[in-house]
Amino acid sequence: MIKKENIQAKVKAKDWSDAIQIAGRLLEISESATHRYTKAMITAVKDLGPYMVITPNFAFVHAAPSEEVKKNDVALITLDKPVLFGSRNDPVYIIMAICSKDGKSHMNSLAQIANILMQENTIAKLIEAKNVEEIFNIFEKK
C-alpha cells in the first residue's frame, strides 16, 4: 500500500513545514512529484490553515493535482518529536503526504489506506513503530 522507500520512522523535524518538506522529499525521490509540489503543500497549509490535521496526531497533506505530479503516490513519516500545526488535533506525530495526478485515480489506494487508519489503534501503533519495517507491516496486514 505504501512503498518502503516512501516511509521514514522517527524523523527529526524542526517544525511542521520542515516535516512536510521531509515527506515531500520522499515523493520527489520516487519521481512522483516535483519540489514545486512539495512547496505547494506547505503553501496550502499556510493558506487554508491546519485543517489537514484530520484526526488527532495525524496530518494528511497534499496540494492540488497539477502537472507537478508525475504519478499518484503516498509517503508517510513519523516524527521523533511531534510538531504543532496550530490545530485542535495537535500535536502531530505522523505526516502522510499524497500526490494525485487528477484528483480521482488515487481513490482506490486511498480507500485501502483509510480503512486501516479507521481502525482504532492504528495511529497509536504508527507513533510507537520503531522503524520502517514496522510501519510498512501496519499497512500490509489485513
Binding site: 496550502a44 491546519p50 485543517y51 484530520i54 484526526t55 494528511f60 496540494a63 484528483g103 487508519l117
Partner: protein
C-alpha cells in the same frame, strides 16, 4: 423523494474530503440509508447544488453564513462515532 445530496469539502476536493466521503458512505450503508455523497473544494463548493456540506471545523468559518445549505462541521475525520452521529442527525432532520 428526490435524491439526497451530501457534499464533503476540503481544500482541493481530492484529499481529506475523499476520506470523509468514504466514511459517510459507510455509515449510510450500515444504516440502510441512501444519499449521494460527492467531494468538493473550498473554492467552488457553494455553487454545487447539495442538501448538506460536511466540512472540517477549521474550514467551516470560510463558508459559514454564505449559504442556506446545512453545514456540518467535523472535528475528527477518522472518528467513526462522530461521523455516525452527525450523519444520522442530518438524515433524521430531513424527515
Amino acid at each position: 423523494m428526490e435524491d439526497i445530496k451530501i457534499q464533503t469539502v476540503c481544500g482541493f476536493g481530492c484529499g481529506s474530503s475523499l476520506l470523509l466521503r468514504m466514511n459517510i458512505e459507510e455509515v449510510l450503508k450500515e444504516n440502510n440509508l441512501k444519499a449521494t455523497v460527492f467531494c468538493g473544494d473550498l473554492g467552488t463548493c457553494l455553487s454545487q447544488p447539495c442538501d448538506a456540506i460536511f466540512i472540517s471545523e477549521e474550514l467551516w468559518s470560510r463558508i459559514e453564513g454564505r449559504t442556506t445549505v446545512t453545514i456540518v462541521p467535523i472535528k475528527n475525520f477518522m472518528d467513526k462515532k462522530e461521523i455516525t452521529t452527525k450523519t444520522m442527525e442530518f438524515m433524521n432532520s430531513l424527515n
